[in-house]
């Protein structure tokens, strides 16, 4: 029912990964059901089919890799809407059934992307251990819990869920690395503007037009709309045919973003609106505070200009 808050949540599983940890930061999810999905497509199909109200899936992360699937799924099939972003520090821990000296660790289970992220730490502290590839951070934690491996590289929530002892935390090479997740629902009114929002778009560009991307950026620049992310993705047909995923500062309800969206709609082969939602803020003193609308680009400036044009047209 439109307007009803979501109660049935899915997330990219298995249990005990960063995605579950991210979902736990969404207040409504604490009171609803939280079901792991086997893949991003499966999670999103649960929402499309109505079996779930919202899905928490990774959008972008320092580990790489999963983003593509999410973006492709959002760009194709029945439209879905991002209603919230969750940004989580990539906070790997080394965990084991019981705490033991590092020197006794011979086999460490890890997702290949996790061990890549902790390469420097592994080289320094576990130079002689064998790293065994497993399919997810959750599977690594589970393997350590059964004793199959001496230890696991996993998310804090994975250690907690499997009652593992944390032997070392913050072991990722980039201490500030984060992962960004999206909470995705079926189409409906976007959440209200907060003054510090992001808008996500999938923009299709005709293949053979030189300077097409420049045109897209000019549509944004002329309305003072700042880009915070851009990805070109093959459309799946062949390399060379692209869709651009853009994250823009602002909300679809803002006058200037609205005009920019109309401009993209007119000049691009296709534009899919993926949602407007509050930007993640770490703290109130976040240095990345919202850039106020440049001179002449506030909603009031738009209203004034529209009234002026109306006067010119009628001659009054």
């Amino acid at each position: 029912m439109p307007g009803t808050p979501p109660t049935r949540f899915v997330y990219l599983g298995p249990e005990g990964t960063f995605a579950e940890q991210a979902l736990r930061t969404v207040p409504a999810a604490e009171h609803g059901t939280r079901t792991p999905a086997r893949s991003v497509p499966e999670a999103l199909e649960n929402v499309r089919s109505g079996d779930a109200d919202a899905a928490l899936v990774p959008l972008e992360n320092s580990i790489g890799g999963v983003v593509g699937v999410t973006l492709d799924e959002l760009a194709e099939g029945e439209p879905l809407l991002i209603t919230r972003e969750v940004v989580l520090p990539v906070d790997f821990v080394l965990a084991a059934r019981t705490a033991t000296p590092l020197t006794s660790v011979r086999a460490v289970a890890a997702h290949p992307q996790a061990s890549t992220q902790c390469r420097r730490w592994l080289r320094t502290y576990l130079p002689d251990a064998v790293v065994v590839d497993v399919l997810s951070n959750g599977a690594a934690a589970a393997g350590a819990a059964t004793g199959e491996y001496d230890a696991a590289i996993c998310a804090p929530i994975g250690a907690a869920r499997h009652r593992l002892a944390v032997m070392a935390d913050k072991i990722a090479d980039h201490p500030d690395a984060v992962t960004r997740f999206a909470l995705v629902s079926r189409p409906g009114p976007p959440p209200p503007a907060t003054g510090d929002d992001l808008t996500s778009l999938a923009v299709y560009i005709a293949h053979d037009r030189v300077g097409a991307l420049l045109s897209v950026l000019m549509e944004l620049a002329v309305r003072g709309v700042n880009l915070t992310r851009i990805e070109s993705r093959p459309t799946g047909e062949a390399l060379g045919r692209y869709v651009f995923f853009l994250d823009c500062a602002g909300h679809v309800a803002d006058a200037r973003l609205g005009e920019a969206l109309q401009g993209l709609r007119r000049v691009c082969a296709d534009v899919r609106f993926l949602g407007s939602y509050p930007r993640h803020r770490w703290t109130a003193t976040d240095e990345d505070r919202p850039v106020p609308a440049p001179a002449g680009l506030s909603d009031a400036d738009y209203t004034d200009a529209a009234a002026w044009l109306a006067r010119l047209r009628t001659g009054e």
Copy 2:
């Protein structure tokens, strides 16, 4: 009274110049009064004060010089509106009280700009004649009529009005040179769009902003609005502070020109709308035929994009 067609016309005098000739091409002027003014400011003040309904003044010409005054007058004081442009070939003639062999012409009266335009002809056909500067083409014709000078360089209408014999016509060095005039009225609804219109603007740019002109052009380019003329003029305060006079293809009633105008209104220090009016056409096969709206920039495209945005905002 608004809506009443103009009947009282003024034009840049004196009688017998190109301005009068241009006014005679305006159908309504044939049935109204036609009064010469001593200067462009005087002609426009007659309209502002209500003593005349419309003024015919030069905007731009191959001879140069007069444009500046007209532009400055339109940009300052009470607003006025260009409702029509008239483009006239610069068609100088050599005329005299009676036709005589060229060898007997010793003194030719000419406005300095007219003799400059006919320099090559004078050098070839009247190498020994003295050219006497006079204050206007009309004054030259008048001087030939009184016999004060052997001949005059003047407009065809000047020769006709003073019953002079035309001894040589089309004597200007550039056979295709033209002069462009504007018919100017008090503010009111612009004439309806014809599909091939021009819009004139005076755009003020803050002095200290690097790239300000580029911003102006990007506002136009993003909406596919083509410039047919641009002039920077000192604002009269000092060199270095400028107003730009722009002629844009399109009509204020067009969606894309309307959006571009709103953009200029927002980002420029000031914008004065000087009118939308049909572009002068020489013939139906004119090679400068109107450029159709680029893909995505027609009124229908604007309507579609606005409806799409409304759907996004409400989530329907």
Copy 3:
């Protein structure tokens, strides 16, 4: 030794994946050694350390995921150079130890990204089979070879290497999907220009500059340099600090690309040149044939303009 052709090749393993298949298309690799590496970082470190002459790693693919690691590795650490791109159709097959009717297949081993790419086919032809996630396409083929699974989704080379019977080929949902690989060496002179080349760059943009990406694109557009790919990647420090990976049409030896590179070098926080190399061509009639330099942007035009400027400066 500089100038010596590479003889020791590494590729992203394990054996029997698309990366090995791609390496086999490189003529020199047929006569050299071909060693699988456990990860992209390991493959590239082999080259950096001198243990290998060249590495074949995935750059971009319809499957997604691996790209990020490769790009990050190329952007950081000791510089490396892409000297060749290899584009391979994503041509998944279903293979088994012996050919059996599809109805007898109960367990299929597949890398999660491979099963995602073949979802439609699996739903249609193996609706009741269980898909077991494994760590690579090569591991899937190996598992089918040992009989651990009834069948595997793998690359043709994986089936061949493990002497599997191909029960179905071209089972990917997007028949035209491809993967793009890079052959990477230590720095040195780029391969000579062919008239149809690509240049890859990593461009760092100061975080707090509105419109910075537009500036980058304008540097390219003004020199008529077309972008074929753009990716923004977090720098690893935090989300919001980005490096852009650009693929541009043209060769570093081209005048216009050279000028554009210098422009990027001047206006960006940093630019890393990742290589100029021949663009992959499918056939001689490839519809994506090279766009000739736009008017005024050929090497000859650059030479002419430089000579003209020299004359202006000396006054000769």
Copy 4:
């Protein structure tokens, strides 16, 4: 002889006008000959033919009108070079043979543009006087000297030369209005860069190219070159075919201006270099002090980028 300082000067006459006053501010002209020319074309032809070394002609002024002829003459025929600009306050005076009360002045001689500039003053102080049009400010002064008119509106130098009494000074309506003149020579090395220079160009744009002017401005903007003036002029063939006169901040010897010039040379139908010369400075504390090269656009940045590109190309 190249390198010889000019000694024979011409200026737009007649004697006693602002042009003569401007020439007197050029040190070399004090020791050389100063000859009035009847028109801008005549002055420039004297330089082209070698009869004079340099000509002082008006470029731009608040009075309007003369600019066009100068620009057209510089853009056509044998090339000439602007080597210096002179900016003069428009400082009209009312002068007469003998000082008399204003109430006794009935006829005032004035060039029409001069009386236009002093309209407000005339309306206030000489509401009943008749203004008689004459052909130049110099002619007005001469007419007052002979007693043909009671007074003249003229330049201070005109009053001095004709030994007139100045009855009122600074009578122009815009107290800060100025006129800008150019000192023009035959082609040769431009004067050395001073760090605060202007470069003048005539740029021809193909008629039928939408967005051509935007391309020109982008060539400048990408190199951080600021425009201080832009004029579109009909080419003399017909309206609609334009040449743009640009004044750019910077010197042809500057790296970034040089690169921008080469860009214009490549993308425009034609570019004529009209000279690089020191910008006029009123005082050392002039608020319009030169904008330093934006980040990345200094000569040193260009040198660094060129060296970097050379390294990329050779692989060293």
